[in-house]
């Protein structure tokens, strides 16, 4: 229990540090954000307008006051208003975040159902043609960048075969079938690389565990091979695999940008890119913060799962 509380404390501290770093990053960047924002047309910005924008953004106050205000607002889940359309950043995030999460979860489901069984099978048949073929496919899948996979999928499945639309999004409540059809390609593009990662991790981990002394003990006990595999090998072998999966899911929180862009999927990272292009600071800061907090939370969840699987950690 104290173990759990300590991990929770560390996670909360990390979130606070992340929020502070993002705040400071914005303020220590060369140039005045207000000036930068208004000078995008190329002509020198009007001094009065800069001053007005500075007040509006709260940039006129001393740094520590701004910091305190920002933190106070954060505690109330207030991320400010977008500079593009003046809508609350929180609204945009709550609308788009579920779509990105759905994409990631679908990809993770695919990776777990493909990568883990194949990885275990390849490890059991190490050195055979099955192992060589699956390992080569995994290496290839890892080498193709995600936006290349996505673009080629659009070309093959939408352009040539005309099985699915090239991209887009329909709410599940409006048309469940079309929603899933549109989900298939972006989720598949992410899931392919993720499956390869899961495959390689599982294979290496199972091979590693099979050399452990306690597996030899199980064999010395005369336990049957399938039971050794399930009870002694896979359970321990999956622990590092789960960690890696969680870490990858975390990187995907920001990494779906490319896939959302290719398939025109209106997720969270898509709005991040447009915010970056428009230098919409409140939006960028809000999204970065939310994703980082999710990332830290995910790592916390991994620690808990680890504790449930391995009794040695619970101390």
């Amino acid at each position: 229990m104290t173990w759990l509380l300590r991990r929770l404390g560390v996670s909360l501290a990390l979130i606070w540090v992340v929020a502070s770093v993002v705040f400071l990053a914005i303020h220590f960047v060369p140039g005045d954000p207000a000036e930068l924002l208004l000078s995008q047309g190329g002509s020198a910005p009007d001094a009065a307008m800069v001053a007005e924008l500075r007040t509006q953004l709260g940039l006129a106050q001393p740094l520590h006051v701004q910091y305190a205000q920002q933190m106070w607002r954060l505690l109330h889940f207030d991320l400010g208003r977008s500079m593009q359309d003046d809508s609350p950043v929180v609204d945009e995030i709550t609308r788009r975040l579920p779509r990105t999460l759905e994409l990631i979860l679908a990809a993770a489901l695919m990776a777990v159902t493909i990568g883990i069984p194949l990885g275990t099978a390849a490890a059991m048949r190490r050195g055979t043609w099955f192992d060589r073929v699956t390992s080569s496919i995994a290496s290839l899948a890892l080498a193709v960048p995600i936006f290349v996979v996505g673009t080629l999928m659009v070309m093959v499945f939408a352009q040539w075969l005309r099985w699915v639309p090239a991209g887009g999004f329909v709410a599940f409540t409006k048309d469940p079938v079309q929603h899933l059809v549109l989900l298939a390609m972006p989720a598949g593009a992410i899931g392919l690389g993720l499956s390869a990662v899961m495959f390689r991790m599982t294979r290496a981990s199972v091979l590693d565990v099979m050399l452990k002394d306690y597996v030899r003990t199980a064999r010395a006990k005369g336990v049957r091979r399938p039971r050794i595999l399930i009870c002694h090998v896979v359970r321990t072998a999956l622990m590092p695999v789960i960690t890696v999966l969680a870490l990858y899911l975390g990187t995907l929180l920001g990494g779906t940008v490319l896939v959302e862009f290719v398939f025109n999927w209106p997720g969270l990272s898509g709005s991040l890119v447009s915010a970056v292009n428009a230098r919409d600071y409140p939006q960028v800061v809000g999204i970065v913060l939310v994703i980082s907090i999710l990332f830290v939370g995910l790592n916390f969840a991994v620690d808990i799962i680890y504790g449930l699987l391995d009794p040695r950690v619970r101390r």
């Binding site: 990390l14 992340v18 993002v22 990053a25 914005i26 960047v29 190490r126 050195g127 290496s139 290839l140 080498a143 193709v144 960048p145 995600i146 936006f147 290349v148 673009t151 080629l152 659009v154 070309m155 352009q159 050399l211 002394d213 306690y214 030899r216 003990t217 199980a218 064999r219 010395a220 006990k221 005369g222 336990v223 049957r224 091979r225 039971r227 009870c231 002694h232 321990t236 975390g250 990187t251 929180l253 920001g254 990494g255 940008v257 490319l258 862009f261 991040l272 970056v276 292009n277 230098r279 600071y281 960028v284 970065v288 994703i291 980082s292 990332f295 830290v296 391995d310 009794p311 040695r312």
Partner: protein, 605 residues
């Protein structure tokens, strides 16, 4: 250092050469447009065709490699220098430097990489010059971690301590001793960072946040070819292919480098357990529980076949304890693993027979052997800490041994497991059965291992250094337990150890092994009183005796298994060596009833 991945090095080198020499390949200008010929098909002048502005695709591909690789290499180099410096300083200076270096890295790791890149691009604006610090920042933590871990291992090593004692300055120690030692892992990290940076650079350029048009970049080319996908699909394929092949080659290089730097080379896949070379016609000795005859084990290694066990024969009778004693590497553990069919993948028994109750274990197929393991043939291993599964309760681990051989309900098996725990002297067995291995002491864990071994009433118990990992008082308790079990159940015990006092305490007979062979056997008391083999004698002199002379070491080392001397394997270290010892390999000679030795000069003056 293992073999370097030359094919991958060649492929990556070729791509790098193309990129470096792009201006001198006679390819023309990558940005010169030819709008009338936009989207032209491949021709003699433009081998891969022209893009949407009529620019030559081949030229842009090669120049794109130049941009991608130079950005990636510069970013990886920057990350490598700063990250390694942070890690080395953190690991070596400790204190506040360590805290700052590691905590700042932890904060960086709170951001998903692409997100971190996007955040920095927002702040600095897009462009190739921004990309380098952006990518460097993303890959910096990896270098810091590797360098920090490397320094922590290196700094505790003797030579670093020695340099400090000699008064070398801290900076000098860092540069002269630590950096070369963490070079391997850093090199691997560097290759990983370049490969990842190429992917991230092309991704950012694809989004329009990286390299700025019209400069050529593979990511940009893929992005713009998307618009004309229907008219000119090849335009899309070329940069996709170039990018994928480059990353494939780089990944292969990374994997190869990692294997080359790894100090533990991968083992060969398991081969068949048996060779046909098994000599026929061997018959079991009547009455013996175990009759091992002429066992030879081979291990295939990259540098040749070694035979860690050669022509080993021994018998164990009911209610008897036979000890195999020898130094590490003498082949005693391999012998026991060969009997139980638990040899690791690269090793296999190639000659001999192992009779247990009328069946030859070496010729038994795995399913039949499995039925005997844990039933009539049980084993206890050296390290009870690693031999029990850390994630299962010990009661379940004992019950598993029971249900593997008898069809019993879970509850009945569990009751029996508790009875077994009580039998091996674990207090409060019902509560202890619910404990995990890490909650027990080393001695208790070994008692659990013994409980597992006796669960199905074995006829032969093989104990492979069961007390080596335990302290002396616990060691005595475990030996007492084994002796008591032997007396009460009549099982035969094959006890493997390197400790002569343990042999004296537990064994009826002893077999001394040296460099893969038995060099002397006989009743323990007789062998200890009048050793016939000089190695046994030297071993006895090397063990401390109460009120006796101080122990003497044995000069020289055990010969390496790939370079065994042609004659007696002990001759190079033997004080009684004569010219004829090195001429021919000695056979086992019977020297007295029940005693054998592999020394031709055993009774020489």
């Amino acid at each position: 250092m293992n073999r370097l991945p030359w094919p991958a090095i060649g492929a990556v080198g070729l791509i790098a050469l193309l990129a470096v020499f792009a201006p001198w390949l006679g390819l023309g200008n990558p940005v010169s447009m030819d709008v009338p010929h936009r989207l032209a098909a491949p021709s003699a002048a433009h081998w891969l065709g022209q893009d949407e502005f009529g620019r030559d695709v081949l030229t842009r591909l090669v120049w794109g490699a130049r941009v991608s690789l130079s950005v990636a290499a510069a970013a990886a180099a920057l990350a490598c220098i700063i990250g390694t410096a942070l890690g080395v300083m953190g690991g070596f200076l400790r204190g506040i430097a360590e805290l700052l270096a590691l905590r700042s890295i932890d904060v960086l790791l709170c951001f998903p990489p692409l997100l971190l890149a996007l955040l920095v691009v927002t702040l600095l604006g897009p462009g190739a010059t921004t990309l380098i610090p952006v990518l460097a920042l993303v890959y910096l933590p990896g270098f810091t971690r590797v360098a920090y871990a490397g320094v922590l291992t290196a700094r505790s090593q003797d030579y670093v301590e020695a340099m400090r004692v000699l008064g070398a300055g801290k900076v000098r120690i860092m540069l002269r001793t630590i950096l070369p030692n963490i070079g391997g892992p850093i090199l691997v990290q560097f290759s990983l960072a370049i490969a990842a940076a190429v992917v991230l650079e092309s991704g950012l350029s694809f989004l329009g946040l990286g390299v700025v048009p019209p400069a050529p970049s593979w990511g940009l080319m893929i992005g713009s070819a998307r618009a004309t996908m229907a008219q000119a699909p090849l335009l899309l394929l070329w940069p996709c292919l170039a990018l994928t092949l480059t990353i494939l080659a780089m990944n292969a290089l990374c994997d190869g480098l990692r294997d080359a730097v790894d100090p533990h080379p991968a083992y060969r896949p398991p081969a068949a357990r048996l060779l046909e070379a098994l000599a026929p016609g061997l018959l079991p000795t009547p009455k013996a529980v175990l009759d091992l005859q002429h066992l030879t084990v081979e291990i295939t290694t990259p540098s040749g076949t070694i035979r860690p066990v050669r022509d080993v024969s021994l018998q164990v009778f009911p209610g008897e304890t036979l000890a195999i004693v020898g130094e590490s590497g003498s082949g005693k553990s391999v012998t026991s693993l060969a009997i139980t069919g638990l040899l690791p993948g690269a090793a296999r028994a190639t000659q001999g027979a192992a009779w247990l109750a009328g069946t030859d274990l070496l010729r038994l197929p795995e399913p039949a052997l499995r039925e005997r393991r844990g039933a009539s043939l049980a084993m206890v291993f050296q390290d009870p800490g690693s031999s029990l599964n850390p994630v299962h309760r010990i009661g379940d681990q004992i019950a598993e041994a029971i249900t593997a051989h008898r069809s019993l309900s879970q509850a009945a098996a569990h009751r029996e497991a508790i009875a077994l725990l009580k039998r091996v002297g674990i207090p409060d067995p019902a509560r202890r059965a619910r404990a995990y291995p890490h909650e027990l002491s080393g001695g208790q864990r070994q008692r659990v291992m013994i409980a597992i071994a006796i669960a199905n009433g074995p006829r032969l118990l093989i104990a492979d250094e069961p007390t080596t990992a335990l302290d002396v008082t616990i060691q005595a308790q475990i030996l007492d337990l084994l002796a008591e079990l032997k007396r009460s159940t009549g099982l035969a015990l094959l006890f493997i150890t390197h400790s002569l006092p343990v042999v004296a305490e537990i064994a009826d007979r002893v077999a001394v092994m040296y460099a893969g062979e038995i060099v002397e056997t006989g009743p323990t008391a007789e062998v200890f009183l009048t050793p016939h083999h000089p190695y046994t004698a030297a071993l006895l002199r090397s063990a401390p005796v109460e009120d006796g002379p101080p122990p003497e070491g044995i000069p020289g080392v055990v010969p390496p298994p790939l370079a065994l001397p042609p004659g007696c394997t002990f001759a190079p270290r033997c004080p009684r060596r004569a010219p004829e010892c090195e001429a021919a390999h000695p056979a086992l000679l019977q020297t007295a009833p029940g005693r054998e030795t592999r020394c031709i000069r055993w009774n020489a003056p």
